[in-house]
């Protein structure tokens, strides 16, 4: 970059017209070039290079961020797809559970109804048995009472109506029966 200036300076020395025209001096030009180089080096070392490094770092970060975002987007899409599958499975599972719950509730209700019917039938049967037993007991009591009345009445009638001859005849028959024991 500085090479054409040196050539120009050399040509100027060869052709005095231009150098004298513009008042150029070699030492100043060299000093300017040196200064420029120094400034350029300093700027490059402390300005351009850190800025470039920072920019490259930022570019890397941006690229990493973009990649990360893309990965996240991909993961998000995968997650959404997975979530959709899970939700679908959950819907199916929920529907199955609801069906099972309905079936269980129906079975429970049927079982309760059957048990209630069985209990009712049992109660009816027991009530019928109790009624029959009570009926039989009443019949037995009535029969016993009738028998007692018949026997009592018969005893009273026989006590009045039996003559001594009847008793003697019965006693003879009883004697024959007892002696034949």
């Amino acid at each position: 970059m500085t090479h054409p200036l040196f050539l120009a300076a050399a040509q100027g020395a060869a052709q005095p017209g231009i150098v004298e025209t513009f008042g150029l001096e070699t030492k100043y030009i060299i000093m300017q070039v040196v200064s420029f180089l120094i400034v350029l080096g300093v700027l490059y070392k402390f300005g351009i290079k850190p800025v470039t490094a920072t920019m490259e770092e930022r570019n890397r970060k941006i690229e990493a961020g973009i990649r990360h975002a893309e990965e996240m987007q991909a993961k998000l899409a995968a997650t959404q797809a997975e979530s959709a599958v899970i939700v679908k499975q959950a819907h199916g599972e929920a529907a199955r559970i609801v069906d099972e719950a309905r079936k269980t509730a129906k079975d429970f209700l049927d079982k309760q109804a059957q048990e209630a019917t069985a209990k009712a039938n049992d109660l009816i049967a027991k009530a019928q048995q109790a009624t029959q037993l009570e009926h039989r007991r009443m019949l037995a009591e009535a029969r016993a009472e009738v028998a007692r009345l018949v026997v009592t009445t018969t005893e009273r009638v026989l006590a009045r109506k039996l003559t001594d001859a009847d008793r003697a005849a019965y006693n003879d028959a009883a004697t024959r029966e007892l002696t034949g024991v």
């Binding site: 007692r148 026989l158 006693n171």
Partner: protein
Amino acid sequence: MASGKKQTQQYARQLLELSLVNGAVSLERVAGVLAHLERNRPVNVLGILRAYHRLVAGAVARGQAVVEHAGSIHDQALADIAAAMSRRYGRPITGSARRNNALLAGLRVRVGDDVYESSVAGQLAQLAAAV
């Protein structure tokens, strides 16, 4: 205590055997046994006498047919019943009559704990029980 009671029962049974003649209680033998006990009072004579009394009462009851009757009964019928019971039990049994109008008509014979009945009251009771 139990052993003493057992001995008393055994002694009373021995006295009862001494009181029997042909399987029947003899009044003379009983009087002799009582006289013996009066003369030779054993230990626990009161318990022995009670057991002896119970055994004699049982023996008398087993040797006697109590014939309960409603209406009249002939002596011959009483004798026939006594003879039939003697044959049945294989020991001499005497008959004694006892009036019981509750029978209405018929007889009831007791020999010890056994009862034989042929009476109107008994048949009515059987009828009431059957109904």
